[in-house]
Subunit: 142 residues, 2 copies
DNA sequence: ATAATAAAAGATAATTTTGTCTTTTATTAA
DNA sequence: TTAATAAAAGACAAAATTATCTTTTATTAT
């Protein structure tokens, strides 16, 4: 798989939280888990991790919950960085430590451009766009 | 990561085994593990899995060992299929069950061509080519 | 046939990822 | 200041992946 399951949940959760933020609403982990079809407490962990890394915001107490400050400046790559890190875009397909542009593995020339492109695409897609398409019912979150 | 660690080992092992086969030599799991820098017994498991799925061949007994019959018709994709399966090329990046060409997730249009290209590249690269480059010392297997 | 060899198979274990439950802390409203 | 709320944190557990060790089976050469 390209991304870990945690990261898939994180992306879907971020879209849902941003969607609620558009309506000036905060949401809790139970509602998020329900909305994206993920295990409640595991979802809590992921939301906490995103909050710690400033991908999303949170407040405790009544009327607290998770929210997104500005989903126009939040991109898919930010979520991926926070949860999975960037190994996907840098590590060798064959698992060779030595693999680099100077001493490439046999697949380097073919794979590197694809990984670069992947990074570009994840960097271009804002959560805002994703919410927009979600509001249009173009896709579901589970 | 794109491929599992098992699959990375499998690819490197297949190249080494094919390299030995070029010299009309069979090789054992201990030698393979040494050559590619992988844990011996775990390597054994992976070689067994590849043998079971006809990616490589094996013979027990003295002068037995693992070998490759025709590395010109053995492609990277065959190894990946045998060890990791094809989910990498088919599953949705966001983990959505419903994602398809007809009901695409927000990243579908960007990711699908990249996954398709990945599949094509893995389908084009023969183990024979990889052995050739290995013999030229263009890269190491660990 | 027998002994030696080497893969195959099975049992066990460590680690990582994924998932659950409970307690603590911070915030808000009354 | 107190009670209610909801995230944060921590302890725990299941499952999958990665790794190790031992026993069994098949093959070959003698």
């Amino acid at each position: 798989m390209l991304l870990s399951k945690s990261c898939e949940y994180a992306i879907r959760a971020a879209v849902y939280i941003a969607y609620k933020s558009h309506k000036n609403q905060r949401t809790g982990m139970i509602e998020v888990a329900e909305a994206i079809g993920s295990p409640i407490h595991f979802t809590g962990k992921i939301l906490q991790a995103m909050a710690r890394r400033k991908v999303i915001s949170s407040n405790k107490g009544p009327h607290g919950g998770f929210y997104v400050k500005d989903d126009r400046s939040l991109f898919l790559i930010d979520i991926i960085r926070a949860i999975d890190g960037c190994e996907l875009f840098s590590a060798c397909v064959m698992g060779l430590q030595t693999c680099s542009d100077l001493k490439p593995c046999p697949m380097h020339a073919q794979i590197k451009p694809l990984k670069d492109q992947l990074l570009i695409e994840f960097g271009k897609k804002s959560v805002n766009e994703m919410v927009y398409e979600y509001e249009q019912n173009r896709y579901f979150l589970k």
